[in-house]
């Protein structure tokens, strides 16, 4: 596509541009429907049946059912829309954000209390910061995965 995208070299980051938005239209509109209490109840009662009411791709539906926010974002989801899915499941914004890093809730919270993730090494793809692709997932899960 012909949109200029100077932001593609920012590591671990997907901007919600017009291409993402087009791909994720129904995924995000599904999330909007969860702003109504009656829809949240219906969704929680039978998630598969509820997502099947929406013209999402199967991958998008699976990302919703798995609460896999990274996957959902790669398929056109935006965090402010996806937050409605998280809140339906009783998740805070901090729990949602943390879930995308591979860290445990405690690890992520501790990182924030210690001043947050450093910008050093995380500005451009190919540097050596903790948000770079070759250092995922982060936290204990990584150590355990490697062990």
């Amino acid at each position: 596509m012909s949109l200029e995208k100077p932001y593609l070299d920012v590591p671990g980051t997907t901007l919600f541009d017009m291409d993402q938005s087009r791909q994720g239209y129904w995924l995000n509109q599904f999330c909007m429907s969860l702003m109504k209490p009656e829809n949240r109840e219906r969704f929680k009662a039978n998630q598969r049946a509820y997502v099947d009411e929406w013209p999402m791709t199967e991958d998008q539906k699976q990302a919703v059912l798995d609460q896999d926010l990274n996957k959902a974002i790669s398929l056109g989801g935006n965090i402010y829309f996806l937050a409605k899915l998280g809140s339906t499941h009783g998740k805070s914004f901090q729990q949602m954000a943390g879930s995308m890093t591979g860290m445990t809730e405690e690890e992520y919270r501790d990182m924030m209390i210690s001043g947050g993730r450093s910008i050093e090494g995380n500005r451009v793809v190919g540097e050596s910061g903790d948000a770079q692709a070759n250092r995922q997932p982060q936290g204990k899960s990584r150590v355990e995965g490697k062990a």
């Binding site: 100077p6 932001y7 920012v10 590591p11 671990g12 980051t13 997907t14 901007l15 919600f16 541009d17 017009m18 938005s21 239209y25 995000n28 509109q29 999330c31 909007m32 969860l34 702003m35 109504k36 209490p37 949240r40 926010l69 990274n70 974002i73 935006n78 965090i79 402010y80 829309f81 937050a83 409605k84 998280g86 809140s87 339906t88 805070s92 914004f93 901090q94 949602m96 954000a97 943390g98 995308m100 890093t101 591979g102 992520y108 990182m111 924030m112 209390i113 001043g115 947050g116 993730r117 910008i119 995380n122 500005r123 451009v124 948000a131 770079q132 692709a133 250092r135 995922q136 982060q138």
Partner: protein
Amino acid sequence: MAKITASVFTSHVPAIGAAVDLGKTKEPYWQPVFKGYEYSKQWLKDNKPDVILLVFNDHATAFSLEMIPTFAVGCAAEFAVADEGWGPRPVPKVIGHPELAAHIVQSVIQDDFDLTIVNKMDVDHGLTVPLTLMCGQPEAWPCPVIPIAINVVQYPVPSGKRCLNLGKAIRKAVESFDKDLNVQIWGTGGMSHQLQGARAGLINKDFDGAFMDLMIKDPEAQAAVPHINYVREAGSEGIELVMWLTARGAMSDLNGGPPPTVKHRFYHVPASNTAVGHLILENG
């Protein structure tokens, strides 16, 4: 004649609203945040405005993907508090100021800003958390509020320069309103934060500090900074900071007046995923 007397800048983190609503403000995690606003609450009591122009962004609440306005001005008599998925916050509804809003819309559209006129808009944490931080938990908000919503969610978003210039046009509009009104303009959002992907949790204190310095001394220089710098340096959601420029653009010094007085400056990390920044400027 109406007059903009001061500007207030603050983050609008949803977790701050939840902390107040759930009575957690005395917890060690939250204490430093609310301490930073103690001065501000007293200041607002001592400098009670007749109307607040509150610049914020909707977070996929009132605006779905069906229609995404770049700049929207709320002209209704009142605005309900939105249910963002947890039920509406237990805060007062927001009373508008339809006469001043209509006047601003008329003036600013004729000044070549292509506003969207909004008469129905449930307002989310972007608007209610700043009111909570500055007013606590009153029965009713202290004065009418005109919501001014800027799109910073769906790219393309407006440039910092455009946001600053919107502020200038708003100031001109307010000063041509024929009733005596003490008007404040609040710019909200930021500071550095990222809510997505492997880089979630990013905080850049150096960027935030430099941003606040320029907001005080040289907002025109800050307005020239392109989006990509915010995204790269302050996180994908740090782009919200461009909304501070709209409030700053409405101050006198950008229209030939003296520099503003810095009444208060505060910065703290973290609130949930986010750095909290706060400034109060009075026109000299």
